[in-house]
Amino acid sequence: MDFDWDPEQRAFRATVRDFLATHLPPDWESQAHGPGSKSQSAFSKGFCGALARAGLLVPHWPRRWGGREADPWTSFILAEEMWEAGEPRGGQYMNVNWIGPTLMRFGSEAQQERYIPPMARGETIWCQGFSEPEAGSDLASLRTRAEKHGGTYRITGQKIWTSYAGDADTCFLLARTSAGKGGISVFLVPMGTPGIIVRQIPSIIGEGDIHEVFLDEVEVAADALLGAEGQAWEIARTSLSLERVGIPRFALARRMLHRAVETLKRAGRFGQGTFAQAATARAACEAARLYSYSIVDQRRHGKTTGPEASAARYATVMAERLVSEFVVEHVPEALSGGDAMLLAHHQRAIVAGIASGAAEIQLNLIATDLLKLPREPR
């Protein structure tokens, strides 16, 4: 067991930092980018293109798809640096983290050839069509249906809370092909297909982040189906396990905590009254970091990650909450135009316990799979 970075890992982090220093505009930190905003999406295409050319977009991918088979630590260091910088990749982080790898595992040759290269070049945006008005945490009750008509599927239904849908080229969509939990399938749906209407939902988490997506008799070719009919649960489980510790939220939270403390210091307001709260939040960030590292380490050693990933996620949610509460209480001006980065962090922290599986669902998983407590009656 070793808690230090090796020289190669240090060098890689330095490379990523150099890249950020050169490629982020000078006013980056003073602009609050909603991760799904038009300006962020447009920026991400140029930025991810440059990342790709520098070999820093998908280093952990196989060589065939433009990677260099770097180990999980490399992609996690990359993710830490990106998230800590305010995630200039925007929604494209999803391509890198899980959509690409999921297609590599479950996609047909044709699907891979069509969708993976644009991801590896950093020029395409995807959205994730999972949640529905009646299917949030209870994803298995989703109603959007895909009916087969000869060589095509016709998809009808509604998705909600869909991040990045406003600018997405393709949707990783879950739809029902038959009844029951085993009747859900994944479709790769071009967002320009007739019958799709996207409506942005005004929110407190930033411009352009969440949407409703209406699908009315959306006709896609049979080869839009990913894997087999009814395989969505297995595919989604793979995706979610990649996504669960995919965002190193603790990295930005820790940086923002230090930023808030520096603000207080400059104002002569960092004293005994604020130490306890700042220290508690700082410890929570560190706990979340090490928890997440333990999952990355499991992947590095080729182990399947178990319920510890849910514990890592929950620890991260707590860290986000404590930092965000610290800022609200001690640097409240951040929410009123005083600090665009702290504001952007606050908005991202709101999402921490809700997006990609509610924190309470993680607690259920921990109770059942880690503590082995008896299951609840259903």
Binding site: M1, D2, F3, D4, W5, D6, Q9, W73, H258, V261, K265, F270, Q272, F275, A276, A278, A279, T280, R282, A283, A284, E286, A287, A288, L290, Y291, Y293, S294, V296, D297, Q298, R300, H301, E308, A311, Y314, A315, M318, E360, Q362, L363, N364, I366, A367, T368, L370, L371, K372, L373, P374, R375, E376, P377
Partner: protein, 303 residues
């Protein structure tokens, strides 16, 4: 960054685990507050386990793993101070150790050959004769003791004192890590067996979520404690001790709620872990003391 155990660490952990298995159950006739095991002390001495931090292949990190594992036992002994603090003091001092803070009764004092005495900002060492110390009755699950009279103190230099505080924090966190895991496991066992309203208590979501949160806290303390033992950084030690005390406060409350009246009895072993956690919560200035250390070492506050 690599969280796999080295072969030396693995061998040690498995040897300690094997040793610990002989002490897993609380003797049924024991109805006291602190369960001290002279047999455990004897076996650890025989195996030279108190010196593992000094072995280059093992070091303080492996010692922290041993402390953590042994803290999960219902019985206690003076282990953490000997394994983690003692090797860091400049002068070779005889064990067992004891700890006194601000004149209050402290852990293991009545049987200590070396007592670390903290008084405000100063840290001193005392080597009292057996006649100069005495046990104190306590609800806490460590043997508590005090000095009968003022004994000769050798004050540590500021630098040595800072080092001692750092390793006391690491020892506290490593010990708390094991205690937290054992307390959670004990509550989980109860929630699994105890039925009310026709189903096990553990099937009620209100309780499941609280226990899951406790498990997350315990796991976090474990990582912070191991990291602090591995890096020996002031900042890591402060964070580990703070998270340990925060989590101990919360978890001790939660697990007693889970056990209801059963947790109040001396028949059930739960108090053997929770009342060690409560002792640790009060040490080194409590959470306020750790927060001050974090402010200093993580945020560069000049206090």
């Amino acid at each position: 960054m690599d969280f796999e155990l080295t072969s030396d660490q693995e061998a040690l952990v498995s040897a300690i685990d094997k040793l610990a298995q002989g002490f897993e159950t609380k003797p049924t006739e024991f109805h006291g507050f602190a369960l001290v095991s002279p047999e455990l002390e004897h076996e650890l001495t025989e195996g030279q386990y108190f010196d593992i931090a000094q072995i280059p292949e093992l070091g303080p990190l492996a010692a922290a793993m041993a402390v953590e594992r042994l803290a999960r036992l219902p019985c206690t002994g003076e282990i953490a101070l000997s394994m983690l603090l003692r090797p860091q003091l400049r002068k070779e001092l005889p064990r067992p150790f004891g700890l006194i803070e601000n004149g209050r009764p402290g852990r293991f004092v009545a049987s200590a050959r070396t007592v670390v005495v903290i008084d405000g900002e100063t840290v001193s060492i005392a080597q009292p004769a057996a006649s100069e110390v005495e046990p104190v009755d306590s609800l806490l699950a460590y043997p508590m003791g005090r000095m009968r009279e003022a004994v000769k103190l050798t004050r540590l230099s500021d630098e040595e004192a800072a080092g001692a505080r750092k390793w006391l924090r690491i020892a506290l966190a490593a010990e708390a890590s094991g205690l937290l895991q054992a307390a959670v496991a004990s509550a989980v066992e109860h929630l699994t067996l105890r039925k009310q309203f026709g189903r096990p208590l553990g099937a009620f979501q209100a309780l499941r979520h609280r226990m899951a949160e406790c498990a997350v806290l315990a796991g976090g303390v474990r990582w912070l404690a191991l990291k602090a033992a591995g890096t020996a950084e002031e900042a890591d030690a402060a964070l580990a001790a703070l998270h340990a005390q925060e989590s101990a406060t919360r978890v001790a409350y939660e697990v007693h709620q889970m056990l209801g009246a059963m947790g109040m009895t001396l028949e059930h072993p739960l108090h053997l872990w929770t009342y060690r956690l409560k002792a640790l919560v009060a040490e080194l200035g409590g959470r306020g003391g750790q927060a001050l250390a974090v402010a200093r070492h993580c945020f560069g506050a000049s206090v």
